[in-house]
Symmetry: C2
Subunit: 248 residues, 2 copies
């Protein structure tokens, strides 16, 4: 996709085109898939639900969609009525599951991003397994993936990213990240157009400071150029080990 | 090697220790090696000649050293008398070879870094082959390698670095880069201590502007931390494809 298209196109069209491109190139959605979308109530996963629904005619395969929201014991800010209304409009069934994320902390332990995300991941896998879903779709975008890549490189000394396709060995389920080619600002613009940005929930714990620092450094390093960021993304598949596809 | 050691040690000791560490870990120097050091007259390759000579007792293998300088038709700034005096002091025989780098340009072509380096590389390989050298040592340091890695990633969209060991398929010769763990500022400090910094030659064409820009961006991105840069270096060997060892 040319940079010219990306500079000029309407935001929802960019999201649609880049998601379709990645889904087709990496075979993220296949005939007969039963896909569980993890919706947090935030802009990214809401736009993921929209685009997976909107792409039904273009992808030329039959697949089912449903959305799972995990309600925690620390956040009740989601304007769920708007989320529900939109999912209904997009023909995506919705299920809400309550999980006591803080309640499960061992005594003396503090709440943190790692704990919350492993609890949610476990619940997602359990729910998908019990309800016959073969794929779980997550709303991570290009900036999330590049941040993770650079944090692993500079902090842990390893080349490792978030895969766009992760096939588990232990579970009959794969994770997919259809928004991986799309910049956060492109998702924000499209969420605004679709009227979901203002209703979007943001975590009360916020982004952790290491990730926020890295975000600023990457913006300076790439000059905030989408073309540069997409070349970094492309490089992750350039070696003998494709960092974007993981088969456990 | 601890960061504490690196902060506190004397500059020449840092260069000696980090070169020895890499040479031993990656088996860059082996029993019976006949090593040709490419000396440009600059600080990096001069310190490379020093450290390869100084490490003879520590490495516990027998190897021979010689230095080859390629004199071009565009640079006569090298204060060769000082280089010669130092190489003599370090017991490294010296040979000078004249190559008309500009003279070989096809009509209408302009001089550039790529042309110069391929001409020099060709001459080095030819000389090594004809004179029974099985290794060529180059003076690239940690900052050179990280710059190249990031330029390839953001410019070409590929994960590719400068290998510390490159075995050619077509030639009976390997390239080694024993300074790959050492930051440029550490080399500058040690060159200053050894009295070779002021005598060092710098290319009249200077560093190309893409590389200079990248240098500034990496300094901001890493906070100029040697520890962060060495973690990036370590990450280059973390995947299934070791980006630091190339067997053509």
């Amino acid at each position: 996709m040319s940079n010219r298209f990306i500079r000029r196109a309407e935001p929802c069209e960019i999201v649609r085109k880049l998601a379709a491109k990645l889904i087709m190139e990496r075979k993220l959605v296949e005939e007969g898939d039963n896909i569980l979308i993890a919706v947090s109530g935030g802009k990214d996963s809401t736009m993921l639900a929209w685009v997976l629904s909107a792409l039904r005619p273009a992808l030329k395969v039959q697949y089912s969609l449903a959305a799972l929201h995990i309600s925690s014991d620390f956040c009740s800010c989601c304007k769920k009525s708007i989320l529900l209304q939109k999912l209904n409009e997009w023909d995506v069934p919705f299920k809400d599951l309550s999980v006591p994320i803080i309640g499960r902390l061992k005594p003396g332990r503090k709440m943190n991003c790692y704990w919350c995300s492993t609890q949610r991941r476990t619940e997602l896998l359990k729910y998908a397994g019990e309800n016959n879903f073969n794929k779980i779709a997550l709303g991570h975008h290009l900036d999330d993936i590049i941040e993770t890549f650079f944090m692993n490189m500079t902090g842990k000394g390893v080349l490792s990213a978030m895969p766009v396709l992760l096939q588990y060995r232990k579970y009959p389920v794969s994770l997919i990240r259809p928004l991986a080619l799309i910049e956060e600002r492109e998702i924000i613009a499209s969420a605004d157009k679709m009227g979901v940005l203002k209703a979007a929930c943001t975590c009360p714990y916020g982004v952790n400071s290491g990730r926020r620092d890295m975000r600023g450094k990457i913006a300076a390093f790439t000059g905030n150029s989408g073309a540069v960021k997409r070349r970094i993304f492309a490089s992750l598949s350039s070696g003998e080990k494709d960092l974007l596809i993981e088969r456990e």
